[in-house]
Amino acid sequence: MPLYLNDEQTMLRDTARDFVAEQAPVSHMRKLRDANDAAGFSRDLWKSFAEMGFTGILIGEDQGGLGLGHVDAGIVLEEIGRNLSPSPFLATAVAAVEALKGSAQAGRWFPGILAGDTVAALAIDEGAKHRDSVAMKAERSGNGFRLSGKKQFVTHGHVADLIIVAARTAGAADEANGITLFAVDKDAAGLTAEAERLTDSSIAARLEFDGVEVDADAVIGEVDAGREPLDRLLRAGRTGASAELLGVGGGAMDMTVSYLKERKQFGVTIGSFQALQHRAAHLYSEMEVARAAVLKAQQLLDAGDAGADAAVSVAKAMTTLATTLSVQEGVQMHGGIGMTDEYDIGFYMKRARVLAEMFGDANFHADRLARAAGY
């Protein structure tokens, strides 16, 4: 499969580009922030994502979805990134859907996701830095399990209808096996969410599970065998976050290059200065390489290729590096105006920082690749 979008994907990109730019431009995010919106995103927008069919991109046609792949989901995510649109799309329609796929839970949650009624959140991280390990305990209790422990950086966790929780039913924290994945209802007794507004004005929750009782049928897949759906969730989430980063970095670069062509100092446009031209050209190169890595990871995931896992880490690390450069150069090349709240470029920097941490930063993924390569 060639490493560029096919005709259908190009059409989807054009549709998504117009739709997101019209329905959820940066001003939409700014408005939610200024209103101190309690949800941190618009349910109406989520509904219209569903009407466009976007929420069902990764859901099979037999279950009412579009039966498309990660390339297609990434197309929508890139536009979300470019417009900094607050959306549960990544957590819900990409990561949660991949985790639920093929499980008995799919039938329960997919209709709501397809309809744009259901929002999912991912309770994976237990510390300030993303890790592959899971320490939180789930103990057998009656017909089900009792969940106890804390999770953090749970985007939309304070309002999500469904929370996907990784917990340990056997083994020690650093063991790969012995994990079970649960689909927990938002109203579960003993579950408290502390909503925290983040740097980029999105809202993530710190969740506390204080002996939360769930039935056995809350288990996604099999008990002790949660590594597999969790890995699916992580691969999808990491790839999706990479696609969103591509949009953030690309959006910031486009703004910056446009600004270089407009802004005049010393009687000329500053884009005529070679010092800035070379930095902009270097940035372009980094973003192009990042784009290739994202598309490769998406295609390998869609093909079920064994090399997908490594490609996903390359994509997440590379997009993090390239987009971090893009937003830093963006603010610097805008000069003083780039430091003002009124101007949008700063929002790109904030969003990039949040996405950099999500599902593991560049160091995490470089380390992961190094371990896999035996050093």
């Binding site: 031209q277 390489v289 290739a292 590379m318």
Partner: protein, 394 residues
């Protein structure tokens, strides 16, 4: 089986039967690279056999048309051939500026007679070509070149000097930029092909910091070149030159990919530094540097794949080779810096057998030219800024 599956099976069987075992060993030094040419006395029997067998099938240039000696393979078949060669770790049978640089330009700008005359000999490795581009006063500003070609009715009389001519002392023919009109700059350049054995051609190797002399100064003193050996119209040579430079940049950018198979950087670091009890490189800062480099290196491998796919589909930006050249060469320099750091004092030995005659150190020094030759990194950044980002001129 589909046609492609059949092709793969047949290709695999043919390679198994025809690739000599010596040609499946890793390339260790410059001597292991085969360049072909009139004088093949330096080739080992296995090198010659492998080049001749692949050349006879046109598989040294699998995607050129059969009419010009190429393999006539489709893009999918070419990919399969490359995969099957990689599977048995087959060496490249023939390195050639004819394949990577002149050939594509001839296919685009040559006459039918020129294509039939020159291309098959390139495919079979019979003629070794060199590139006469840079001059003492025309480096980054290549179009300032002054080597003159005076119109003498049925031939040109060429006088002047080229510099940084790769392997001019070993080449049989040269493709050369000459000035046919002194009144304009880019519009006064023509593209000539001529025999290095012609009367009036002389070369002088330049000793480099690596201790090797891959480049020469090349002098032309009243060299007669028949007009039939001009490619494209008179004073239109700059079009050919730019087109060819795009291919040269693609070729150089491939250096960023590193070697197929093992990873000498990682293997080298493990050999000198060792692994700790967790199986990690025992020098954590070196490990971090390598790991972060590998992210970019792997991502660039994907970019190369994307670039080739886009190029074949006519979707690549015409200036994208500049990005590939810039990124690939900077990456290759970074790789060799890390390899030297990983090798420590072992890697400093210049002559010892242990170090294969300082192969690592010499290769490290050689990479410093990557971002100079074929247009400096700074020139590539200028091109990206102007032609892709559309930034204004100063």
């Amino acid at each position: 089986m589909t046609d492609l599956e059949t092709f793969r099976a047949e290709t695999r069987a043919w390679l198994e039967a025809n690739c000599p075992p010596e040609m499946r060993e890793p390339v260790r030094s410059e001597k292991d690279a085969v360049w072909g040419g009139r004088d093949q006395s330096m080739l080992t029997p296995a090198q010659k056999l492998w080049m001749d067998r692949m050349g006879a099938r046109g598989w040294t240039v699998p995607d050129w048309p059969k009419a010009y000696g190429g393999g006539g393979l489709s893009a999918a078949e070419t990919k399969i051939l490359r995969e099957e060669m990689a599977r048995i770790k087959a060496r490249n049978p023939l390195n050639s500026f004819g394949i990577s640089m002149l050939g594509p330009a001839l296919l685009k700008y040559g006459t039918e007679e020129q294509k039939l005359e020159y291309l098959p000999k390139i495919v079979r490795g019979e003629i070794r070509w060199c590139q006469g581009y840079s001059e003492p006063n025309a480096g980054s500003d290549l179009a300032a070149l002054a080597t003159s070609a005076e119109d003498k009715d049925d031939y040109y009389l060429v006088n002047g000097q080229k510099v940084w001519t790769s392997y001019a002392d070993k080449a049989d023919w040269i493709f050369c930029l000459v000035r046919t009109d002194k009144t304009t700059k880019q519009g006064g350049i023509s593209f000539l092909l001529f025999d290095m054995a012609s009367e009036g051609v002389s070369t002088k190797p330049i000793l480099l910091i690596s201790g090797y002399s891959p480049f020469c100064e090349t002098f032309f003193d009243n060299v007669k070149v028949p007009k039939s050996q001009r490619v494209h119209a008179e004073n239109k040579g700059w079009d050919v030159a730019k087109y060819l430079l795009g291919h040269e940049r693609e070729m150089i950018s491939g250096m960023g990919l590193g070697q197929v198979g093992g990873n000498p950087l990682i293997d080298g670091a493990i050999a000198t530094v060792g692994l700790d009890h967790d199986g990690r490189l025992a020098d954590p800062l070196l490990r971090a540097s390598i790991a972060m480099f590998e992210v970019r290196s792997k991502a660039f491998g994907m970019m190369s794949e994307r670039f080739i796919d886009e190029l074949k589909a006519g979707r690549a930006h015409p200036a994208q080779p500049s990005m590939m050249k810039y990124y690939g060469t900077e990456l290759n320099k970074a790789r060799h810096e890390l390899m030297m750091a990983a090798g420590g004092s072992d890697a400093l030995e210049w002559e010892s057998e242990r170090s294969s005659g300082g192969a690592g150190a010499r290769a490290w020094l050689r990479t410093k030219a990557n971002s100079i030759e074929g247009g400096t990194s700074e020139v590539q950044l200028n091109i990206i800024a102007k032609r892709i980002l559309d930034l204004p001129n100063a």
